[in-house]
């Protein structure tokens, strides 16, 4: 099932459980309120009135008893009057209300009817009693009163008392039973709430775990596969189970992996092709220049021979032509040699630790004579020891120093300065001379193979020195560039990668 559906289901169930709880809660509240209202309207007033009546009844009984036994106080007489006229009347009204409120078959209705009747009787009897005692001329009125008291009155009060007590018991019982009913209801409802709540929680937990587990397991599988791919294993694929959103993600991942692999394989193939073409070209250059030297040598040899052996038979023009041929052959020899040297650079591809100071010293020693002859000064900063190709780095510095010596300003002693600056990933070198300098429009061109800026007669060379420098700098993952002004010397900048491991 889709994860979104599972989640909706889980939440749905939870909401359902919540709704059930709310409903049950409402039911219980209603019940409780109902019970309370019943208490208020039915039972409480009844109990109150009955208790009051019980008191009044006892009081009246006592008062009448006293009156019969000679209590003539005005307060007593007034109180009896008060009770009869006010209290008992009020009680009758209340009891009547209670009576009328009850249903026809209610047990208490009859009891109340009896009580009301008795109360009416009591009222009449008390009035009769009062009247009796008020008649002035009556003889034996006290005896008659007593007689009345002992019979009617006592019976009535006794009967009333009994009724009240009965009703009281009934109402209390009703109250208790209501309470019990409510308690039972509460208990059963709370049990229902507990079970449905527990059920809902357990269901939610199960679904949560199941979903979380399946999601995180799928994510973990995806992560593992992605990491494996990042390490270069392009054959990694995900086993897709089911059809939910994560399965779709897995399929998408597999599609991506397939596309990547295809693209990589194609690229690798391209790179292989390019590399093999490069190798072929290298070999081609090597072999070509190698084989070109042989016939060139023969030409040079025989031209020399002719010039030597047949010099008498050659007129000036012939000699001049011969000289041209000789010069051209010599140039060609140098060109081929330079081409060969250029193609040989970096053939020895072993990176070693190179002490640049030692290299510069070697170069200065090799060129001792020419440095002395031209009165040149070469100074250099303490240079680092770094990883690189020993021979090639020597060649690099040598070419630059050579140029500084070769392209010197007439009348000025050459001064060449080599400095170094450490950068975060590279060493930056600076070779500065005080020679003839160059215009900035040549800054790029001089690094192209066999490009020269001057006539052959002015300065010798094939124009390969700087292109060799560039090739070497490229191999060391650096850059080379020039700053110069005509007649104000040249400064060559180049960088060498610090952390060179292989070429």
């Amino acid at each position: 099932m889709k994860i979104s559906h599972k989640l909706i289901l889980a939440f749905g169930v939870l909401i359902l459980v919540l709704l059930v709880e709310i409903v049950l809660n409402q039911v219980i509240s209603n019940r409780a309120t109902q019970t309370y209202q019943t208490l208020q309207s039915e039972i409480n007033p009844a109990v109150t009135i009955l208790n009051k009546y019980e008191g009044i009844n006892k009081e009246l009984n006592l008062l009448i008893s006293n009156r019969v036994n000679g209590d003539d106080r005005i307060s007593s007489i007034n109180r009896i009057k008060g009770i009869v006229e006010v209290e008992l009347t009020y009680i009758v009204t209340e009891l009547t209300t209670l009576h009328d409120a009850l249903a026809e078959d209610h047990a208490n209705r009859n009891h109340l009817a009896t009580l009301i009747a008795n109360t009416d009787d009591l009222i009449h009897t008390t009035i009769k009693f009062k009247d009796l005692l008020n008649i002035k001329e009556q003889e034996n009125k006290t005896d008659l009163a007593r007689g009345l008291y002992n019979t009617d009155f006592s019976n009535l009060t006794y009967s009333i008392d009994k009724s009240i007590k009965q009703l009281d018991i009934n109402y209390n019982r009703a109250f208790e039973s209501y309470n019990n009913e409510l308690a039972d209801n509460l208990k059963s409802v709370s049990r229902i709430i507990l079970f449905t709540g527990a059920f809902g929680v357990i269901l939610a937990i199960i679904i949560t775990f199941q979903i979380t587990f399946s999601i995180s397991r799928s994510i973990h599988k995806l992560k593992v596969a992605a990491l494996k791919m990042s390490k270069g294993n392009l054959d990694e694929r995900i086993k897709v189970k089911g059809q939910n959103e994560l399965a779709e993600l897995g399929s998408a991942f597999n599609k991506m992996a397939n596309a990547l692999k295809k693209s990589f394989t194609a690229q690798e193939k391209q790179i292989e092709e390019i590399q093999s073409v490069n190798k072929e070209l290298e070999q081609f250059v090597y072999v070509a220049s190698h084989d070109l030297q042989e016939p060139l040598r023969t030409m040079t040899s025989y031209i020399n021979l002719i010039s030597e052996l047949y010099i008498d038979q050659l007129d000036n023009n012939a000699l001049k032509y011969m000289t041209h041929v000789e010069d051209a052959s010599a140039r060609m020899k140098t060109l081929i040699k330079d081409l060969l040297d250029y193609s040989k650079i970096g053939k020895e591809k072993t990176v070693t630790t190179v002490d640049l100071n030692a290299i510069i010293n070697e170069i200065l020693l090799d060129h001792e004579l020419i440095i002395k002859d031209s009165n040149a000064t070469v100074v250099f900063d303490p240079l680092p020891t770094l990883n690189g190709l020993q021979m090639e780095l020597k060649q690099l510095f040598q070419n630059l120093i050579n140029n500084g010596l070769k392209f010197r300003k007439e009348g000025t002693d050459p001064y060449i300065e080599i400095t170094v600056e450490e950068q975060s990933d590279f060493w930056l070198f600076k070779v500065k001379d005080n020679g003839i300098g160059m215009d900035e429009k040549y800054f790029e061109r001089v690094f192209v193979i066999f490009q020269r800026l001057h006539n052959r007669n002015d300065y010798q060379g094939t124009g390969i020195g700087l292109s060799i420098c560039k090739k070497i700098v490229d191999m060391h993952k650096g850059e080379i560039w020039i700053e110069s002004e005509l007649n104000k010397g040249c400064t060559f900048y180049f960088t060498i990668f610090k952390k060179l491991k292989t070429i």
């Binding site: 030297q293 023969t298 040899s301 040699k337």
Partner: protein
Amino acid sequence: MKKFNTILLIDDDQATNEYHEIIINLAGVANNIHSVTSGQEGLDYLTSKGNYNGQEDSYPQPDLIFLDINMPAMNGFEFMIEYDKLDASQKGRHIVVMLTSSLNPDDKARAADNNNIKDFMDKPLSKAMVLELREKFLP
């Protein structure tokens, strides 16, 4: 001054052979010069076989052999393998190997391994080089 009795030139390029012949003659260091244009021909000459089928009991035994390395079919080193198998009576007294390229260190090392190869030089020979050799081998 002493001279080499016979110098054998082995080089596939006829022009080079001719040139070297002229140089050697100019230096005046040899009585005889014979040139061949293949290693096989060189062996035939030394063993009086093939085109040189003649006196079986006397072999030319040149004082000096100039041997080119880069030749078709049988190159300089392959020639040396066959040369080593020759009888002492057939071998020359010295050999000098010449290079086609400028002092390829691999070739030089390989030549040093062979006892019969006494020197190793760049082409082309010059008069000075030839005179030097005479100094070295005919003291």
